[in-house]
């Protein structure tokens, strides 16, 4: 069954007819040919498809496209406002926080989500009880970025890349 929706992606509205089984990820990659978010498992296990949905990070392979009619979707490409690289883009290149680059747009969207969560004071599984989550220590970054698998295992470079931006944004003390 097909349904008409409008997907707002990286600031642009796209009227679209989708199969009701179509995931947000497939709507982006197969219908709009926006291939910034990647498919690594299609089951919410690897994080390569991470995008920001109304500012929060989600695995776009676990979201049905028909449920996000009129929501704001931001991909890593969309984080480059006006074509200027985002601070996370620069930090990932500078710290060589990737090798093959396939999981990387998802890592970067996830990191953008982490920064927002820290700004909001959200704790993680390694935050001491009673403390707010506004201080992105290395251990906090490792924990919060663990939903994004990197088979090249650039983890030891992802941590300082995210830390550098966190410090600049005041969420790393």
């Amino acid at each position: 069954m097909d349904t008409e929706i409008t997907l707002r992606v990286d600031g642009a509205a796209h009227p679209l007819t989708v199969d009701t089984r179509t995931t947000l990820l497939d709507a982006l990659r197969e219908r709009l040919r926006n291939t910034s978010p990647k498919k690594g498992c299609d089951h919410g296990q690897c994080g390569a498809c991470t995008v920001l949905l109304d500012g929060r990070r989600v695995n776009s392979c676990l979201v049905l496209a028909v449920t996000v009619d009129d929501a704001d979707v931001t991909t890593s490409d969309g984080l480059a406002a006006g074509g200027e690289p985002h601070a996370l883009h620069r930090a990932f290149v500078e710290h060589d926080a990737f090798q093959c680059g396939y999981c990387t747009p998802g890592q970067i969207c996830s990191a953008a989500g982490v920064l927002a969560e820290a700004r909001a004071g959200w704790p993680s599984g390694v935050t001491d009880p009673g403390e707010d989550g506004g201080d992105l220590t290395d251990d906090e970054i490792r924990e919060r970025m663990s939903g994004n698998l990197c088979r090249c295992a650039a983890y030891a470079n992802i941590v300082p890349a995210v830390a550098e931006v966190a410090a600049a944004e005041g969420v790393r003390r």
């Binding site: 199969d19 690594g40 883009h89 290149v93 990737f98």
Partner: protein, 702 residues
Amino acid sequence: MTTMDRLVGAGVARIDGPAKVRGTAPYAYEQDPGEPICHVAVVQSTVNRGRISRLDPSRAEAMPGVLAVLTPANAPRLGHGLASDLPVLQSLDVHYQGQIVAVVVAETSEIARAAVGAVAVEYSAQGPDVVLSAERPDLYAPDKLMAGFETDSVIGDVDGALASAAVTVDATYSTPTQHNNPIEMHTSMARWDGDRLTMWDANQGPHTIVNDLVAAFELERDQVRVISPYVGGAFGSKAFTHPNQIVAAMAARVVGRTVVFELSRQQMFSLVGHRTPTIQRVRLGADADGRLTAISHEVVEHTSRINEFAEQTATPTRVLYAAPHRRTTHRLARLDVPPPTIMRAPGETPGMFALESAMDELAHQLGLDPVELRIRNEPARDPERDLPWSSRNLVACLRTGAERFGWAGRDLAPGVRADGRWLIGTGVAAATYPTRRRRAECRITGHGDGRWTVEIDGSDIGTGAWTALTQVAADALGVGLDAVELRIGDSALPFAGGAGGSTGMTSWGSAIVLTARDVRRELDEKHGGVLPPRGIVVKGGVPGESPHASDWSMHAFGAHFVEVRVDRDTGEVRLPRATSVYAAGTIVNARTARSQFLGGFSMGVSMALHEESVADARLGHYVNHDLAGYHIATNADIGELDVHWLEEDDPYVNELGMKGIGEIGITGAAAAVANAYWHATGLRVRDLPITPDKYFRELGAG
């Protein structure tokens, strides 16, 4: 030549980096074929060995949007000479679970996947035989191992030396089946224009894939073009052609449209290879001072019923330590499993786990520091080939690593350090990987305006080749980075072997250096040293191995030092820090090389603690065939990594003195973790991965 060596060694940021972080670098699935794309999904066998007794595609064929259902009854016939898993849909016989038995082509991916469920298949099947053991009566010795290594090596009287040794170790280690699992799933997009095939594909070397497509579809080489500029990881699984390339080309030809076949993550566990499980018995004999008198390393591993893949697991034992009496053997069992393939440092990775664990056990028996034990057994020459080393700095790696890590004063006793619930230990292991060079061709075009185009069918699977080769070319031509346009990842470019065996830089980099020398000679001889306005084109390359390869033993070496913490109540293992030091010749790009080293080491940590594909003995499949079940290291599993390398000048290996660095990082890493785990807990886990259940198993056994 004033700018020579200006760029080689520099930590140039990846030139493909800005596009990759935004997600705009096009991987195989993401290429624009110039027309709408249809989707392929496949029906896979649910039995390991048998024959299709009924196959009814009619319900699937009737679904709106389905363009074709290919089965053994209607699929085009393929040419001969293909590897055993490539003749897709050519017979009703089933040789492994997951074998493709039908192919659906549809207008959308949703329709294709739904149609797969509508294809009815029945089998007559035998029970699966998937369990490896060292006691199987059908173990056999292959004629040769992968990469041409001898199956066995025997020097001296090993049994006699073991019987008379002052100290011995006799232990059996095992490593499980592992799957490469690059995060980009294998993907092939095929388009036919008449009898010409274009394929956008995820692989480690387009020329390799072309060979099989030419054979399968009975074409001439110039009728096939494979394009792969960006590849989302590979680790060996994308080195050789797998059924996906054949299926995509076949489906596109049948429906007359561009099709894409993107494997599912689950299909990555049956269609693109795996690392064989191993059972390894290691026996060491030493005198009271810790000098090895005998080394025996006997390997049992599997291959599939339809191909022979004989992993060279004990080959690092042939080079690492001195001992007058030595033996390595490899025996295989043919099982009802999908064809195994190469996975990062095939041979060295499982083999070094066993050897370097056994060395740790020997050090404990001797009451000797495990770093010192290794230094005492440093061989002056290659101990089996009896050749000098082109360069070997294992001892310097051990000493430098020990200093950086803070090894001095380490307590030898296991299981005696704790921080609250956490038991703390440290471990060491060596790393090694052979240095080779393969045939590669290159074309360099000098344009009249001073720009240069360098063309070679190399491949960047995440290694940094885009950047490092550009550096090599710029230096060799005596120009800046911006003056060089590199072209790789396209079978229309001059021949190069695939990215594998850590031969990318040593082969492609050497080809570029030698071709650039020809460029400069031609400029000097014919053009007065100046690039003429109409430009020049020069073709060159390297024929194969270094001319010194038969006179010198060529290997990279390294040493890992790790700290682990083990929760005494749950058996959870954490890795807060590690130091790795390498001696790997000239390092071309300091930034991307560091990532190769730390990525390889981290994959070794993943192997030590997480990775295991579990075959169901009754049903024959890999039970945990996705990333929720097959665990790989996550960010939180990796602590602070200190990566360092030594200056090493090797005049024999190749033009720039480079040794491959893509694989050495994983070698020895799992042993270093296991040795640190023993030092923390007093428990020796010889069967990877070291999961919490084994903590309790060993506690109970102790």
